[in-house]
Amino acid sequence: MALVISDMSKYVIAVFMAIYTFEAFTAFNGKDEEKKEGIYTRQVICMFLVHFVSFAAICLETSDLSYIIFYGFQQILLFATIAIYRVLYKDVSKLLLNNMCMLLSIGFVVLTRLDYDKALKQFRIVAISLVLCIVIPYLMKKFRFLDRFSWLYALIGIAALGIVLCLGSLTHGSKISYTIAGYTFQPSEFVKIIFVFFVAAMLAKSKSFLQIVITSCVAAAHVIILVASKDLGSALIFFVVYVAMVFVATHNYFYLIVGSLCGCGAGIIAYKLFTHVQVRVQAWRDPWSYIDGKGYQITQSLFAIGTGGWFGMGLYQGDPTAIPYVEADFIFSAIAEEMGVIFSICLVLVCLSCFIGFINIAMRLKNEFYRNVAVGLAVTYIFQIFLTIGGGTKFIPLTGVTLPLVSYGGSSVLTTIIMFCIIQGLYCIRAEEGGRHVRVEEDD
């Protein structure tokens, strides 16, 4: 009977996920937040059902009741997060709040299925992060001088990355982490945010050519340290974020074009210089010839997505652990395999909905610094998703970055929660600063 139920459950999960995704886009329609209350409620119900049915299938498959308790804690955490954030900050974006919790819950489901211990560890980190980050919107509202510390941001960022380069342990051929008291930190994750603050502050100060040159040099220093640490995925993200921020802030296509050209040039040089870049490009172009070696990960990922098909094989019916690093870099393929390609596409669309939510606040903010921050975080977020999902589906070469909020990895999930909370802070700031603006619209 368990087989039949898990067989059925995948359809139920796909349907509710599809409804949730649909609502995640209808929420952008219209301005009246009160009228949208129904959308957000339906989203919460869908989120609950997807989570519940998934765990029902997990419990049936494993016949292990400890999962029920774990599920209970997750459910409490997610609902408490939604409730408390909404009570404390009346101006938060409820859509982004829902989306964040939805992505976290999908992450819990998949991680529980892949590796219970890792799921427990991830749950603890998420819980702590959500509690800590609850103050972020308040701090953002209170401290309005965050734009003054541009050089401090640069210093912290370069120092953190530099220390990793010097001391960091070797993980998967790239020096990207160091361990303190049993916890492994991946500073490049946190530096992403600090870097965005640095660029935002510099561009808010002045947009003169000299200022851009100075900022570019510091930004280049970040990227070069990351390249030296062989963390090319992060280096690419920093680079793209920087070009996008400069372009948006200066309104000047010159920087977009020069940036793109530099990017292409750097890509070619990196390919010529680094064998591990060549390996990844080869594995991307023809993984089937290297199925035993460098093409193994990507071919296993394609097997997972392809065998799963539109509705997936059902939880515990596939073999996602055949993919190396599945819980971090290839979690998307594991989701597609067992929960289905339709579900996985909805997941991408939910991420896109988050991106639009980020951009939405950037467009409405008046303060240039905050606006730059929102743009930077939006691009950081969506480009990372593009890299990880594009890599897992053989659209682009693998870069080894995580799927924010879903993948296993403490630094990654904490950083992303901070990002979401900063954006929520910006929503609150916008509501305060733009009172006049809003009133005009309401009057009509």
Partner: protein, 508 residues
């Protein structure tokens, strides 16, 4: 940052939004929106770029699942096949009339055995599923491991703790035709392909020497260690042979193209051999064909005349014709194929040119490819993609998926196909395949006797052709290793197959 600078910026910010008071609120809102639009223009660009990127990623994933995944996942490196094999009983392989060609039989103790009721008859084309997977056992592997039985049946099976039954693969193969082709080839090694030119369906495919797939495990070591006869190789799709006189089809096409479709001026006086620069080409067994025109040279398969034609050919034209006819490329098919080779180049010496134009030399072709070229001639110049799996059905006969006929490539014009068809009709009417003349149906084709070593009497017998000429329905390609001349050995086999085809399917 200094305080004064900050004030200036704030002032600028304010100026941007606190424009002079406007009389009407509506107008003012419009103005703000306009400003917003201007201010956000670049942000819109960035937003659209990333939305576009993400939609491309989604599109790529959908494309992969929709078009590529079926072939991709059927890979021995995909561990999910084992999982499915644990859950489902492997489905059966059925002939076009649903006769069982391969099925899994479960003993009372739960052990499974794959049984092939026709033993050697379908050895290569159906293949085997232990010791790796070959043939249709490979092509339909994932389908047979997947079950599309209804949910009710799945529940029933689960309650009674049985495995679900996987889907069946219904092939295009016809048992009668396969039997006739198998028996016709007799004790000889070689291959036969019978196909439908209008659809690409393969009706029969024989390769010898063969083996009994029921005993594959027991015989495995012997088969693998035997290098000389390569029993496991499917000669029909992977065997590379010198094309012999069947290559004259291609030489003729190149000559026809080079002369703008007019070959009526060609005449040659054959006295049994052709000498150029001291190199000599003999007609088969030294036959003397006398005065021949182009069509007669082809019908009688006159080597001397074709050596003469070859020397008049522009080698670039011959090479491009060969490339059009799918030489030197991997065929884009779902099953393993050999790569046919044409290596003459454009600077070859006259002896090599003479040899190549009569199908000797270094040219190599698979029977499958010759069959595809013949099908194109029969089908107005277009090759249909050859296929073996007609449809997938659940074990109780509900249709799951039907494969339809697809164009592979148009390799010659309709006019060129018509020209070659006439030439091949001449072969039956007054040439080397007159054994197919005067029957209840009309036929066309080309014979070949490919010499493969220095001893003159050793040659592979070829025949490739189709019937009926007016409306070709069946296409046969035969290679008989080391038998002798195509007209003597291969043509009678073709006749038996054509006879059987029209017996089964009727003349109309």
């Amino acid at each position: 940052m200094s305080g004064s600078k900050r004030t200036i910026r704030e002032f600028e910010d304010d100026e941007l939004y606190d424009e002079e008071p406007l009389p009407k609120k509506k107008k003012r809102k419009k103005q703000i929106n306009k400003k917003d639009k201007y201010r956000n223009r670049e942000l819109w660009v960035v937003t659209y770029i990333f939305i576009f990127l993400m939609l491309t990623v989604i599109g790529n994933e959908i494309r992969f699942v929709y078009t590529d995944s079926e072939t991709v996942i059927n890979n021995s490196y995909n561990p999910r096949q084992e999982i499915l094999a644990q859950k489902n009983v492997r489905g059966s392989i059925l002939a076009d009339d649903k006769t069982v060609l391969a099925q899994t039989v479960r003993a009372k103790d739960g052990t499974e055995k794959r049984v092939y009721p026709y033993s050697n008859l379908f050895a290569h084309v159906v293949g085997f599923s232990t010791k790796g997977k070959t043939g249709i056992e490979y092509l339909g592997n994932m389908n047979m491991l997947t079950s599309n039985a209804s949910l009710g049946e799945k529940i029933q099976k689960e309650i009674s703790a049985e495995k679900t039954i996987g889907d069946n693969v219904v092939t295009t193969l016809n048992v009668e035709l396969q039997k006739v082709a198998y028996e016709a080839l007799g004790v000889y090694d070689g291959a036969i392909i019978v196909s439908e030119p209008s659809t690409g369906k393969i009706l029969a495919m024989v390769s010898k020497p063969d083996f009994d797939p029921n005993n594959i495990v027991e015989m495995w070591d012997g088969l693998v260690n035997d290098d000389s006869s390569s029993v496991l190789l499917n000669r029909a799709t992977q065997g590379l042979y010198p094309p012999g006189s069947t290559f004259k089809i291609i030489t003729s096409l190149a000559y026809y193209r080079q002369n703008g479709g007019n070959v009526s001026n060609y005449h040659y006086n054959c006295n049994g051999s052709f000498t150029y620069n001291g190199d000599r080409i003999n007609c088969y067994h030294g036959s003397n064909h006398g005065s021949v025109d182009f069509a007669t040279s082809f019908a009688k398969s006159c080597n001397s005349s074709y050596a003469n034609i070859g020397l008049s050919l522009d080698l670039g034209e011959l090479e491009s014709t060969c490339n059009d006819l799918l030489f030197n490329e991997d065929l884009d098919l779902k099953f393993l194929t050999g790569q046919s080779k044409y290596v003459l180049g454009t600077n070859a010496g006259s002896y090599d040119v003479m040899q190549t134009s009569i199908g000797q030399g270094k040219t190599q072709i698979t029977p499958l490819q010759l069959n595809m070229i013949t099908c194109a001639i029969a089908n107005k110049g277009t090759v249909k993609t050859p296929y073996l799996i007609d449809r997938i059905e659940s074990y109780n006969g509900t249709n799951v998926k039907t494969y339809s006929s697809e164009d592979y490539k148009t390799i010659m014009t309709e006019d060129e196909a018509e020209f070659l068809k006439e030439m091949m009709t001449g072969v039956v009417e007054r040439g080397t395949a007159t054994k197919l003349k005067g029957l209840s149906y009309t036929a066309a084709g080309k014979t070949g006797s490919a010499e493969y070593n220095a001893v003159k009497t050793d040659s592979h017998a070829w025949f490739t052709g189709f019937a009926p000429v007016e409306n070709p329905r069946v296409c046969v390609t035969i290679i008989v290793e080391g038998a002798g001349s195509g007209g003597e050995y291969a043509v009678p086999m073709a006749k038996r197959i054509f006879d059987t085809y029209f017996q089964i399917k009727g003349l109309n």
